[in-house]
Subunit: 313 residues, 2 copies
């Protein structure tokens, strides 16, 4: 990889931003890239943002939204049904544990004592880390949907193994999503309608955002085709905010996605008419929006615009 002057300035800007956040106690370092404790102020800002996200969801959907919360791990069986290990193997988090007896445990401890790796003493725990907040929800919808389909409000921690200096690329972060499962038209409309609504939320937060057609980071050579196809079919729109000025093209803080019949066919979800259900989601990247707030309005929330300060808990 060639390091150009811009790459280098970008790397410096990211490192500086991270170090400033840590110096203020907004983030707390864990010793590895992309994993941080969150200080009280960071969490207050998350709460501020979430208040506006929830309000936008209520304004759009009223009581039709079904609130569901999932833990950060979900069954391997549901994971296996998707093609995630084919498309994003490098971001995956598989969970293993020790299932042996006393004797096997002594062997593990002996290896550990000798400074050897001890992972091979573990076995799959039957679970995976959640990589997008909505993933655990689809297996709960197997069967026939009500005539209006369903609208879900899901919010939870996601994991993606991509250690980076940029504080906006965390290994563990929260995503608040509104998910539509129903007819192709309902799914398409959900995605289209949420682009201006989500821009509205970012506008209330006084963030300058643009919507761009985007693609997921599919793995490897085969992934290039999948990415090109996703762009051709206009299935993913990201809302981006510039955290580092002109040093890069901005950071995606919201993602609006059409899944077509991907989850409907994988999890055998039918519309009331018996067709394979389509789905779409809008996902608010809570940590990234919070970081965009600090980058835009400053690290001292006391100096933020009065309207924003009034929304802090």
């Amino acid at each position: 990889m060639t390091i150009t002057a811009t790459d280098s300035a970008l790397h410096r800007a990211r490192t500086q931003f991270r170090d400033d956040l840590i110096a203020r106690g907004i983030l707390v370092p864990s010793g590895i890239d992309g994993l941080y404790g969150r200080g009280a102020i960071f969490e207050d800002v998350i709460e501020l943002i979430d208040g506006l996200v929830v309000s936008a969801g209520r304004a759009a959907h009223g009581d039709d939204l079904r609130r569901l919360r999932f833990p950060p791990v979900f069954p391997r069986e549901a994971f296996e049904k998707t093609d995630y290990i084919a498309s994003f193997p490098n971001l995956t988090g598989a969970i293993s544990t020790f299932t042996g007896d006393n004797r096997a445990h002594r062997t593990l401890l002996a290896d550990r004592e000798a400074g050897n790796d001890w992972d091979h003493h573990l076995a799959s725990a039957g679970t995976m880390l959640v990589s997008a907040a909505c993933h655990p929800s689809y297996s709960t919808l197997t069967g026939t949907l009500p005539s209006d389909g369903v609208l879900l409000d899901v919010y939870g921690y996601c994991f993606r193994h991509e250690p980076a200096v940029d504080p906006a690329r965390m290994q563990a972060f929260r995503m608040h999503e509104f998910v539509r499962v129903g007819t192709p038209e309902q799914a398409r409309t959900h995605r289209e309608d949420w682009i201006p609504r989500a821009l509205g939320v970012l506008d209330e937060l006084q963030l300058a955002a643009d919507d761009v057609i985007a693609n997921d980071p599919f793995f490897g050579r085969a992934g290039k085709m999948l990415a090109a196809n996703q762009i051709d079919e206009n299935l993913k729109t990201e809302l981006v905010v510039r955290l580092y000025g002109d040093l890069d093209e901005g950071t995606a803080v919201v993602s609006c996605n059409c899944h077509q019949d991907h989850f409907g066919s994988t999890f055998q979800i039918s519309t009331a008419d018996g067709d394979v259900a389509h789905s779409a989601c809008v996902g608010f990247g809570m940590e990234r929006i919070a970081l965009a707030m600090f980058a835009t309005h400053g690290l001292d929330v006391g100096g933020w615009p009065a309207r924003l300060r009034s929304l802090l808990p």
Copy 2:
């Protein structure tokens, strides 16, 4: 294992409770034991409980509490420093991911296609699941504490691999903790003072609770000695509520623990006087308290005592 009449009645009671919670949409099944989605009412009850936990923390410690939030995964290096893999290997969650190239990925996919296990294509991701909310906090305290020590408020998801029918034994659950790190006296006092305070919180929730001297579920033969020692030294007090009447001895919903110098010496934390710091914590098991509420006051929150209903969000 001998199944006695009581075991069997207890198993039936647990199964019935779980099925009733699912039938009401309070919990949503994931397909494996101990992992559930949470419905809106369950989350409202969690919020109700957390309001009282936060109030009790503020009443006891005012502004001395430092609020910190950690994601559900933390660095393997910090995990390795503790003896968790020696004491609780069977509860551990180690995270692995794919770090290979295109060719290695094709081999993984070929194994998967053939119905073979594909875990051996993965490598450690350098992270572990958090098993107690306070665990990630100690590595952030390495060094010398301020003269009054520190008081932390931590709240997050924990993972323990112990699949069970009993909904009160989840694989992923939230724990809200108040942690004291300082002199031996400060740590001891924290634990002792929080027993009546936590009983007060449960009393406000109109739950009948008892405090009992307890031990952690240390693994294997060597673990028996550790457990006996923990009881002898009176290092762990659990507050238990009976979810299943007289069918068992109750479910631990709060845990008050003295760690002595365990974390202080492991993470090289010193008091202002240069001694090894001691620590103690009180942990509120949020899911278990919520389930105790449903078991005690009924599955229909509309029928709960007026005082409790008034606290719902």
